[in-house]
Every structure is written in C-alpha cells, then in structure tokens.
Amino acid sequence: MCNICGCNKAEHAVETMHKHADHQHDPISEHQHIDCEQNSAAASVARLSGSRMLEIEQNLLAKNNYYAEQNRQKLQADDIFALNFISSPGSGKTTLLTEIINRLKKQHVIYVVEGDQQTAIDAARIRETGVKATQINTGKGCHLDAHMVGHAIDHLDMQKNAFLFIENVGNLICPAGFDLGEAHKIVILSVTEGEDKPLKYQEIFHAADLMIINKIDLLPYVNFNLKQCCEYAKQINPDIEIIQLSATSGENIAQFSNWLIANKAELQSGYCSNNKKDL
C-alpha cells in the first residue's frame, strides 16, 4: 500500500506511474469554501432559474502543493537534499547527473528520480553509475507532479542523509509551476539554445535558484552571448546563481559539486538550528 495516498497498487512508481481513476484521495480541507448561497444578489437571481452560485475560492494547485509539502517534510525529516532539474530536451541533464554522481558517490549517498514521457533509458543510464534510480513515465504528461514524486520517493526506500536528484521531463515551460518538495529548482540551459531563453521562458528562470549553462565546450562553434544570457537571467531573477560548465569535458563541474555540497550542508544546519529552537 502506498503511504502517500493509501492506494493499493503494488506496482506503482515502478517504471510506470499508475493513473488514479480507480481511487480518490482528497487531502485538501473541504472547509475552505465560503458558501454564499444565502446572501448574494446573484445567487437569488440564479436560484430563480434553478441554479445557485457557490463562491469557493480554491487554489487550482492546492492538491499539488499539498503533496509537495508532504514530500518536503518527509525529505527534511530524513536529511535528504532534493533538487529538481529542469531544462529543455537534450540540454544535458542526464549527462551532467551521471558525471556529478561519479564524482560524489564515494563520499555521499545519492538517489535519482528520472522523469520522461516514455522509456526507462535515462534511469538505466543513471543505474550504470551504481546508484539507485527510479523512472517515472508521464505518458502524455509534460511535467512531474508532487504526487508522482511522492510515490517514487516511497519506492526508492532511501536511507537518511542523502542527495535526491529529480530529473524533470525535458521541458522549459510546464514544470516551472509544479513544486515537487525540492530544496531548489535548478534550470539548465545549453549554449546551443540561444542566450534569449531567460526572457522567453521567464517562469522557470524566476523559480530557479541556480542556472547552469551547459556545453561551454561548444562556445567556439556557436553564437552564444554568455554575458548577455547571464544579464537576462539576473533581470528575471536578481538572486539567481550561475555556473557555466561542460558536462562532457568536465570543465567547471567541480564548481557545481562544491555548490551541491555547500548547499546541502547549509540546509541541514538550518534544520538543526530550527530543531533546537523547537526543543
């Protein structure tokens, strides 16, 4: 049985995600609504015609946000530092992950959730490094959501104090608004995509804490204005950090692994002091 929603599908989160046509879970309080049937003039007009007006004021992302918060609490309790990697298809997410895993795996425990519409190719690529990975196939879905990731987290059965890398479906648009419970969103842009992307796809650059500019080994061959790209990203998000690297040549990858280790430590020391405050 799944701990997230209590559904009885034994096979779910294992390479394919189940659809929820067969069961319902409603974690959202049903009491947020303000039922104005009695007072509003519109309602009385409506009632004449046999209909009534319900003022409900419900957030369309409430369900996803609820699951994301569950994930976040669970991850925090287990000292797991989770990152949500977002980019367009082919920017080098899986390549960068395998490189970084090979550098960190001796000293750190790492888990990976791979999101793709189809195939388990990326999870297999990750498993070749020796770390545990689970594949989510979203089918027609264009982004991971917090409920799918919650199931995948259960499936991974993680030990405490670890990294969790979540590779989102290759898509620079849709994943931006769906919180998965991660500590940070990381957006990857490769130099073959053009420096204007932060302006064209603002949401994700605004939501991310770190922008990685990948494939800098190709800079001599493409027209990519690195400085301009960084300026655009800073216009959308003045606090965004930027690392330029090449996942294939290895240039500057150390800067990214240092970022990962430092931010994990920072988050965990934050939990510790919070816990102390609670005591």
Binding site: L60, E203, P238
Partner: protein, 114 residues
C-alpha cells in the same frame, strides 16, 4: 501543455465540490488567473472542453478573469502594477521588483444545478 493537467485538476476539484455541496451539474465556472501564473488562456479553454467531456462540467461556460501582477519596488518602495517578471520600476527605473500578487490560479465560483 500543463494547461491540460490544470484543466484535469479543475474537473477533479469540481467533482469533489459536487459531493460536499450536493450538485449534479455545473453551468458556469469562474477562474481568476494571474498574468504570471504561466497559463495560456486559449490553451486552458481548449483543454477544458476536452477534460470536461462526460463530467458534470460538460458544456459549462468557463470564464477566466485575468489578474494583473502587483509588486513593490525594492529600490524606491513604490507599489507597481506589472505584467512580466522584468519590467523596470516606472518610478525609479530599477529592475528589482518583488512580486506580491499575480501568480495565482483560483476557482472563484461555480454556478451549479441540482
């Protein structure tokens, strides 16, 4: 096309409301969507028709109210109305505007029938 999953959660939430508020059919749905919510209105309208098929919202009118974004300039502290993440402050020309409203996606109301 995350508008499709937004449309699907809209239908799911309407079905849950049908249980708590005891209705059988939805005539009209009013949403409030912030200009920074990342939703393409026409795509959402299109996906809604598909998602609503065979549900109690089939044929319902979907009204989407746009909500402009509000922010506070972190430099001159003036309140600003904007429609993008990177417009400069109209008063001092600086780029640092903290957005306080305009990312929401809310079901405001449902007109329903028993």
């Amino acid at each position: 096309m995350h508008e499709l999953s937004i449309a699907e959660s809209l239908i799911e939430m309407i079905e849950e409301n049908a249980l708590t508020h005891d209705f059988k059919k939805v005539i009209k749905i009013t949403l409030e969507i912030g200009v920074l919510a990342g939703i393409e209105k026409s795509a959402l309208l299109f996906c809604f028709d598909a998602a609503a098929k065979n549900s109690l919202a089939e044929g319902a009118e979907l009204v989407i109210q746009d909500k402009l974004a509000k922010g506070i300039c972190q430099h001159c502290h003036q309140p600003i109305i904007t429609s993008s993440w990177y417009e400069p402050c109209r008063f001092c020309g600086q780029m640092r505007i903290k957005i306080i409203d305009g990312e929401q996606m809310i079901i405001k109301s449902l007109q329903v029938e028993n």
